[in-house]
Symmetry: D2
Subunit: 404 residues, 4 copies
């Protein structure tokens, strides 16, 4: 099962101490992520289809549930970092145990069970991919608190070249179809397919770069209230934001902390680790705006899913000049903030039972992001994929594409 193995690959460079720590309620210790994805299989397959299933430990279901209230009250999210036990070793034993039980179940189950369980298995594999991305972003956030600025893993060299000036791609108004109608795996929030009307719009052909964002900063971007949403301005003041997350000044020069170490800021890279508020303020400064998720999906049309994904092992957006006309970097590198509040599509129905909590209950006060990032698996992403975070979230690989 290559997705399961990839989890193990991701954590290879870590010291045991790195698996344990939780810095804020929204991030989790690596060992929790590793256990939670197995809990998912245990809860939604083994517990459900096997009458006599014995969990490895009676309290693991309590520890490793994230937020599924219909399966029982989970251990407090903000307290995941106070648990030294189970140890990392025990977590790997738990993973092994669940894998073996899963294999044995699939070998012996009825065809009817197989059909149903296979669907959940597919969700579980996609679920693990999401947590692989979170392992990287949560780990980065934790390592960045440490003045030693530890290196997670060397990056494959990517080179750097300055991109061409932004080209605006034009789209005409008209009816379009949004949502997924294919046979591929999808989440419930991509359904149902539905018609919508899109106005005329233009989309930037590439992502905003560090150099461009720096101009905004040098033009007083973080000091000019008129560029910001009201809550964005409050966030700037309260958190004393003066740059994207992970940027820092050293000898009056902007440096950046990455999973592969720290160094001078590369002006050519796509800007990342910005909140929705910063993306919005930058766009306003540029006399433009962020795209809606419908515009983004409509524009993507038949674009191939290519880009800088986690398989590339850069763990960071890359500064490539991509030749040719048309939209570039729509997939990979950074998640692209849209101006669309995360909401159900017309006629949306969540999955039945506890799995219905996967997506639906988060459909308020969050914003949709599209396209995947350098920490996303290429096999995980698609045109209709909807990611979502709160407007102040900065620890994900989030970036900016302009519209107008």
């Amino acid at each position: 099962m290559s997705v399961r193995n990839f989890s193990r690959h991701l954590v290879e460079p870590l010291e045991i101490e790195d698996f344990v720590i939780q810095v804020m309620a929204k991030t989790s210790p690596t060992k929790w992520h590793l256990a939670h994805v197995s809990w998912f299989f245990e809860t939604f397959v083994l517990d459900k289809f096997l009458d006599d299933y014995n969990s490895m430990h009676p309290q693991y279901a309590y520890f490793f549930n994230s937020y599924y209230l219909q399966t029982g009250v989970p251990f407090s999210r903000a307290q995941r970092g106070v648990l030294s036990r189970p140890t990392v070793k025990e977590v790997f034993e738990f993973r092994k145990y669940v894998d073996e039980q899963m294999l044995s179940f699939f070998e012996s189950c009825t065809e009817e069970d197989w059909k149903e369980a296979a669907k959940v298995l597919e969700i579980g594999i996609n679920h693990e991919q999401q947590h692989q991305e979170l392992i990287l972003t949560d780990l980065k956030y934790m390592l960045a608190q440490n003045p030693l600025m530890p290196v997670y893993r060397e990056s494959r060299s990517a080179g750097s070249s300055a991109p061409e000036p932004i080209n605006w791609i034009n789209f005409s108004e008209g009816m379009t179809e949004i949502g997924n109608s294919g046979n591929e795996f999808t989440y419930d929030n991509e359904h149902p397919v539905h018609k919508t009307f899109v106005q005329n719009f233009e989309l930037a052909d590439r992502l905003v770069t560090n150099a461009e964002y720096l101009e905004f900063m040098q033009d007083g971007g973080y000091e000019r209230s008129e560029l910001w949403l009201d809550e964005g301005w409050s966030a700037v003041k309260e958190n004393e934001w003066k740059s994207p997350l992970y940027w820092y000044l050293k000898n009056d020069q902007w440096h950046i902390f990455t999973l592969s170490g720290s160094g001078m800021l590369d002006p050519n890279e796509p800007v990342t680790h910005v909140s929705y508020y910063e993306a919005d303020a930058y766009a306003r400064w540029m006399d433009s705006r962020l795209p809606t998720e419908q515009e983004w999906e409509h524009a993507c049309a038949d674009l191939p899913i290519e880009g800088n994904f986690v398989e590339n092992e850069h763990y960071h957006p890359v500064a490539h000049k991509i030749p040719g006309k048309g939209l570039k970097q729509m997939y990979g590198d950074v998640w692209e903030w849209t101006m669309s509040s995360y909401a159900p599509y017309p006629g949306y129905k969540p999955l039945a039972g506890a799995l219905g909590e996967y997506n639906g209950k988060f459909m308020a006060n969050q914003y949709v992001l599209r396209g995947g990032s350098c920490a996303t698996s290429q096999t995980h992403i698609r045109k209709t994929y909807r990611n979502f975070f709160h407007a102040d979230a900065r620890w994900q690989f989030n970036g900016i594409r302009l519209a107008r």
Copy 2:
């Protein structure tokens, strides 16, 4: 100027002590509202058009600015209740002073200035109407903290009768126009008019009543996590919500605090003082949903603007059985939560200068409400009017109309 006089009429029943208190950062003392609406005229008319304008007091501009950062840093919103001075008497003198200056300006100004200033005057009058509504809702919130449950003003008797069961009004999919194209006064957020596509939908012909909401409560509505948005469930737990705001149990019977005193809950009244989260959970429990703001506006079409507004002097939604078919109570009684996140219309342009802060900078993390309430002036409301509050706001006269 009848709008200015109505402010004075509204506060007639108050003791001086009632003008001063601020209970939470989101509510303001009555005397602040009264001064702020005059500050608006002073700042956006007198200061702007008169070279030699002298304010009554050099610090009033600082005290009575709400959130317009382009006109100077305002006095902290959360601290409005620590100021015993200027006194209520001085605030009325300030209002008088500004009124006189305004009159004198309009008598003597150039035609060119008149044209421009008249637009701001119109905004200012509408602005005062908004604050008249806030005076009532903020006052209600303050009085409700007091175990003495003071009466603001006797209500005109309205009678009570049980409404007919909900009738679902059907609307077919198709293109429609959203936004305001008329000659009436409008805010910038109602522009531009634009085409949109609306799916098939049904709208309840009337508001949800207390009796219906009570059934939800008795069915465990506030204890069943599966009915709630994730952040709604957190709000229920943190704030220990067990009913709408202002409901309380006495001898095991539900009672309600109103601006006209406290008493037994009337089952026939439209339910009010519910958050977006409660409206959403109720709708889910009813196997339906809230309308989008586009659906609401589309459904309203040519409906006359009639209903229970502040001019009726009930200061509370009324329990009337309204005869006839078709949509009822679309205007007045309670603001109707929509599922639409407050966002700019395609092509939206805020007003130039500080007045651009009036609406635009709040377009994130809030939800649109439509139709006006028993605390809204009839002359203030229209089909395209967009009100907005955070999802946890309960102190406004907000209620529920179902869609599906």
Copy 3:
């Protein structure tokens, strides 16, 4: 009853708006103080001695109890400022009602009851004197939040003259008696009289002045951690203390807010509105320390109780050069911080019943102050009187006398 009348005299200059506001949990609205002192008589005399006593309002006992848990759970201290009703007028009616009931009770009660009730009456009068001081200090704190810096009342002119350099008065080690053995009124915390051993010590003959404290500031007093207690240093950092409370810089000159208006700092006045931490840091900087309360009381011996009390109507410490040798300013002007943690004397017994909560339950984590201030009644103070506040309290008229 002159103490009762003095309460009325104190609030004469106030606007109704001034009676209502509460700025922090530790301060109370003036109208609450005025009502609470009558509640005291009602609860501990009328309710107790009269079988058929009718309170003016059934909920006043709930509103106006401060912290006596044995008489019922009081209304939340931090919420006293959310109540606009009862109004100021109603509070004065309540005071009048209780006064009349008290008079009528004392005219008709048995001799036995008279004896017992007279003791409580005496406590109640002293209690009202304490709240008169709090009315002034709480009011000052409230007015100081207001950028208008309102004047409470003109002060009688006091003149200003520079004091002589500090003279150190020497005391030899030996046994002494601490606590009150006289016939005057006392609180339970001044008992029992007990022997204690005092080491050799020296006491400054006068209070520290603003000029002297300013030297400490100019020598980096607020930036040098080594001068501070650990929690004092945290308080400096968290609250950004840079001077005593009510000092402010204007045109690079230190000014001061007083109950009689604002103006240039008088260097000759005793420094006041300093916390225990500041007093302690100043003393350390001076290579000295604060006195213990035993030293203070021992030193006072037979000193007459003279000084700048509230009867002088300065409402501020005065800058007098006092002729002669020996200890000066031991009474009046400012409360003098001692280094003694507030603790029971050996053999201490609190009063029986709810009145035992008056003092005893506060004997932890507070520090004793001695001598009374410009806001204290002369008839209220005595050599053995123990006042107490938390180490970070700055809104009382607290000052510094050095020992070594």
Copy 4:
């Protein structure tokens, strides 16, 4: 160096994950304690006496400083748990490096340096003993958060027997000497020796047991406000205290979590993990009080230093019936709360330089404890030893001895 080895012995049973976690600001990760005690030697010996000393890592001084502001601003105390690096292995390398440097320094230093450095060395060794106790108490607090209730180490069996009823030992009033005048190692806070007068008092001959404390609980101890100091009552309400820390109900029976596992409460053991507030409330309920530190020290006189210390390897107070008359358990088992606020002795002088911050700056708002506990080294304790914690501290092995 046996003290250094004992640190290693203490952490032998731990998993690497156990070294990393910090649960609250007042507790530290085990690996931090291990590094900090070496930092102490590095800072106060190597850095000071060697011109060319090279630390192992330029940032370790920043990480491992606790609170010595005169040696530089330390890394935030509350954030010690966000650092996964340096790893446990690296911390042990740091310890080894410092040990070697210390050895080499002492081999080659001048006699003059030797004299001065030896004093600091002695402080450093005592300092490490204090942190050994904190390693155990902090670790216990961390493990107790974990529903798995991990066992730190098996305890040597101690048996259990019910003690005799309390005998009150009588002491007559008179002058006594407090403080240390011997040649043994002492901290600065035990100086200078000074005379004091002690009143008549009686001291309980043994500690309060769990059975006795349970009676207090069963008599409504945690529900009766009149038994508590005001701030104690607030702590009970806010923290929902219903028993000592680490007690929990299971099948309606009181159980207890210890470093050696969880089980039924032993009624004969001395009660421990109580705050000053609980000790004070218990004493009030018993119509007695806590001793002053002077009484405790006076009573101890020439008592031998024997008891249940960490060398016994029980890691918990033991339930022994101790034969004979006179004071028992004065040393070991649990620290005994005194009613004395932690304050400087008359004439106290802190050490010069940064080491003066060791004790002096904490002399406010804390209470003195005496006698050492089951987690204290026998060689660390003495009659004049003053430990101190805030009144709400419960995670130390603190217990109760009554006086009256």
